[in-house]
Assembly symmetry: C2
Homo-oligomer: 150 residues x 2
């Protein structure tokens, strides 16, 4: 546990919105959504979740630590793959129930599929097909089987 880092109390709406105190809101499952963005390209890399402990670990380590909902455990991103995310800047929104982390992405990418970003497909707005089609915007940048030792 990171006992040295603390968050503010969530007071009234105006205080949460206008004070210079970090008072993040965790949802009914104790989680807050976090979007990791590449600090250089400003491209989104992934959206995952943090709990209070992983957010404090992120602040303490300077590397992004999520909470894995599927594995139900603290998830230090890149601990096994080497694809860590060095924290450059952390932003929160008006009601402080979301965070964005600008990172220096280490290694070839953030996505377990072998791509730089998890957001490698866009909705094909022109196609008009049913069901709605996606178009790929990114190629593989690494071999996930070798990186993740599957």
């Amino acid at each position: 546990m990171c006992t040295s880092i603390s968050f503010g109390e969530r007071e009234d709406k105006k205080s949460v919105e206008e004070k210079a105190v970090f008072a993040p809101k965790f949802d009914e499952n104790g989680l807050i959504p976090c979007v990791a963005m590449d600090s250089v390209t400003k491209e989104p890399l992934m959206l995952a979740y943090m709990n209070e402990e992983s957010l404090k670990m992120t602040l303490k380590l300077g590397e992004v630590v999520y909470y894995s909902r599927s594995r139900q455990e603290i998830w230090h991103k890149g601990a096994t793959s080497g694809h860590t995310q060095k924290v450059v800047e952390i932003r929160t929104d008006c009601d402080q129930d979301a965070v964005i982390v600008y990172v220096d992405q280490q290694g070839a990418g953030a996505c377990h599929t072998g791509r730089n970003s998890c957001f490698y497909r866009k909705v094909d707005l022109e196609a008009g097909s049913a069901p709605t089609a996606l178009a790929f915007t990114e190629d593989l940048t690494f071999d996930p089987d070798s990186v993740y030792k599957k």
Copy 2:
């Protein structure tokens, strides 16, 4: 309802990740997180949620429609303020449980506090204060009381 737009079936993990079919996953509350980003500056504007109906309305209208968790209703962003968000591109992630919408933000901004972006504060990583401090990164761009007719 938007009956003409449909989504794909969520089959196995590999299909969700590698097929060119939009098969968004809505959580136990029927919601999917959506990050709106400025299509020109690539700055994040807000993070909110969509349900299936609002996502289909977004695709049909070409303007972003969220689902308001607090009001528990469909929320056509900008319908009252005029600050609509014209859809430029919609991306989804590997497991299709999040979307990013690049938008052409109309009016002076996206945030109800009177700022362009809801992400107007960053964590002050240098301060080392307890509780953790925030620093403002953006000034007011409009008067929310007049825009939202409070």
